[in-house]
């Protein structure tokens, strides 16, 4: 796979050299292909998604394993599974036509008004942005992180929990002292897998990021990502641009492989320390 794609993209790699990755100008009319804005967009949207999704997922996973009475556990599990089953294009449609005008845009305008003096919240905003894509990505990766963390929490022995209670711990103290420390490696691994999914997610970013070819320090203004750019431009691209887009795909592949390797290395290290 890597050989075939790299081979196709090779003329672009050769023509651009290192500036293919470090260049921030993407201009097919002048045959300039720098993909830094898209690498930036991929990383920024994924990190926004992670920052939102991790606390939510851990909350739901703790609720399911430690807090919920039996009768409510099943419906919540089904709901989370349902969230995982919805195809990404439906999230894109819903995000673009419903969440964006009703929730994300007002929030962005509020942020621009109150915190506009901070560069990352500088306005004016048109709605579509890194932030908008990140929020929908967060909803998409929550089920993965939740179900994996839930499995991890379940592996904590009941005896540890009882021991914590026997010491007079409150429920939260039990969670903090008995459940979380034992699960750290697994939770990091789960989050990394969620990150991997967010990095490669295409449709939602293509629909909600605004498809702009520049780096913008403001999170509430339009940008793009590698996968989003490929999806938006592939159909109407000429030969040179197609080669550049394929080259971007190779870069995305390398990034996701690095993340997955890092996830494994981290899980392995924590597992050994424990």
């Amino acid at each position: 796979m890597v050989a075939s794609t790299t081979n196709t993209a090779f003329p672009r790699f050769q023509a651009e050299g290192i500036s293919f990755i470090t260049g921030s100008e993407w201009n097919p009319n002048e045959d300039t292909y720098g993909i830094l804005p898209f690498i930036y967009g991929t990383l920024v949207t994924s990190f926004i998604a992670l920052i939102i999704a991790i606390p939510m997922s851990l909350g739901v996973a703790l609720f399911l394993t430690e807090y919920a009475p039996r009768w409510i556990r099943r419906p919540v599990e089904y709901a989370v599974d349902l969230l995982a089953a919805v195809p990404s294009v439906i999230y894109g449609l819903w995000g673009l036509l419903v969440v964006l005008p009703w929730l994300i845009r007002p929030v962005e305008e509020f942020l621009a008004k109150i915190l506009g003096w901070i560069p990352i919240f500088a306005g004016p905003t048109t709605g579509v942005s890194y932030f908008a894509a990140g929020v929908i990505l967060a909803i998409m990766i929550t089920p993965i992180i939740t179900s994996l963390s839930r499995e991890v929490f379940r592996t904590v022995p009941m005896g540890d929990r009882h021991a914590a209670y026997a010491m007079g711990a409150t429920r939260w103290e039990m969670v903090k002292e008995a459940v979380l420390p034992r699960s750290r490696a697994g939770v990091i691994g789960a989050s990394m897998l969620g990150l991997g999914r967010a990095l490669g997610e295409t449709i939602v970013v293509a629909m909600l990021s605004g498809n702009r070819n520049e780096i913008d320090a403001s999170l509430i203004r339009a940008g793009s990502s590698i996968a989003g750019k490929i999806a938006n431009n592939f159909a109407e691209a000429g030969k040179d641009q197609i080669e550049a887009l394929v080259g971007m795909g190779v870069v995305l592949f390398v990034i996701t492989i690095i993340v997955n390797m890092a996830a494994r290395a981290m899980v392995w290290r924590f597992a050994r320390v424990r």
């Binding site: 909350g59 807090y67 089953a85 999806a231």
Partner: protein, 313 residues
């Protein structure tokens, strides 16, 4: 430390509210909690409840919108006719997408199910832990983490090729098959591992050869569980959009040819949703309802099958 006595009933109320466990039947609550610990415990409970509420809210919201907007745009015409060429025109439907999705997912399943099953059988029954089995396991692990758009690009470079412009349903099916393979291999492997060795030994004791044992004993025993993985793979492939953008191009015609450009339900939703025209957006919502229904059917089949296989164990 101060201790205080309480009635059993109020102890239960106290436990429920603070999350503190007391020794059953003692009538004594342990050390009274300091305000800080009490507040911490209670605030964390509230935060966790809030996380659950915030996570469940999108589920209800997305379902509500799809059923309301999709339901009002859904009609018999939508299911049985193709997309009009003008996005402004109302009416029409996604029959072209339904046919395209059916063809490509069907072909992808026809490729990936036998190959995936054979790979899983090899892993469990023949390879075990030899180098080839390790290589297969490693690659199917890596494959699950590869972005689907990259799979599409790969197929583009070998089947479509720049400048030759041979976008085809065949290429789309190939991409979907690659996406389905690792799901089928890993889930089938787990299921085959669950088949008890006594069954295999019994078969050998009757004089059966290894291949007879695999085909007549092991596979039937694992079949319900393997169906679960296959259903999930089909549901996943049916909802994929990204790899199709770069392999089948997307048309508005109804096409039954494997070798020409084609379209698919998710692809039509994607292109119509991006239009400003109300009519196109209405079609996108109806398409979302149709796609979600199809995906959920396969997901539910997977659930039912997995619970059934658990019963048989």
């Amino acid at each position: 430390m101060r201790y205080f006595k309480r009635q059993e009933a109020s102890v239960q109320g106290f436990e429920r509210w603070t999350g503190v466990r007391t020794a059953p039947g003692s009538g004594l609550v342990g050390a009274r909690l300091s305000g800080r610990r009490l507040w911490r415990n209670r605030s964390r409970t509230i935060l966790i409840g809030a996380a659950v509420a915030i996570t469940l809210f999108p589920v209800l919201w997305i379902l509500e919108e799809i059923f309301r907007r999709g339901g009002s745009a859904m009609s018999w015409e939508f299911i049985t006719s193709s997309t009009p060429f003008s996005v402004m025109k109302s009416g029409g439907g996604f029959l072209n997408g339904l046919v395209g999705t059916g063809m490509m997912v069907g072909l992808a399943a026809a490729i990936s199910i036998p190959l995936g099953t054979m790979a899983a059988v090899y892993l469990v029954e023949y390879g075990k832990n030899n180098w080839l089995a390790k290589v297969i396991r490693f690659f199917s692990d890596v494959m699950t983490g590869v972005p689907s758009i990259f799979v599409g690009i790969f197929i583009y470079t070998i089947l479509v090729k720049p400048e030759q412009f041979t976008y085809s349903a065949l290429a789309g099916a190939a991409a979907l098959a690659i996406i389905m393979m690792p799901i089928i291999v890993r889930s089938s492997e787990e299921m085959l591992k669950l088949v008890p060795n006594e069954l295999r030994d019994a078969s050998y004791a009757l004089g059966a050869a290894k291949w007879q044992t695999v085909i007549k004993v092991v596979l039937p025993a694992a079949a319900p569980g393997m169906t679960t993985g296959i259903s999930l793979a089909i549901a996943r492939a049916g909802g994929e959009t990204a790899p199709l953008i770069v392999t089948i191009l997307g048309t508005l015609h109804l096409s039954t040819s494997l070798f020409g450009p084609n379209t698919a339900l998710p692809l039509l939703i994607y292109t119509q949703a991006g239009q400003a025209a109300e009519a196109a957006q209405a079609r996108a919502w109806a398409g979302a309802l149709e796609l979600l229904a199809i995906v959920l059917v396969f997901t539910i089949v997977a659930r039912v099958m997995s619970s059934r296989s658990r019963i048989s164990q």
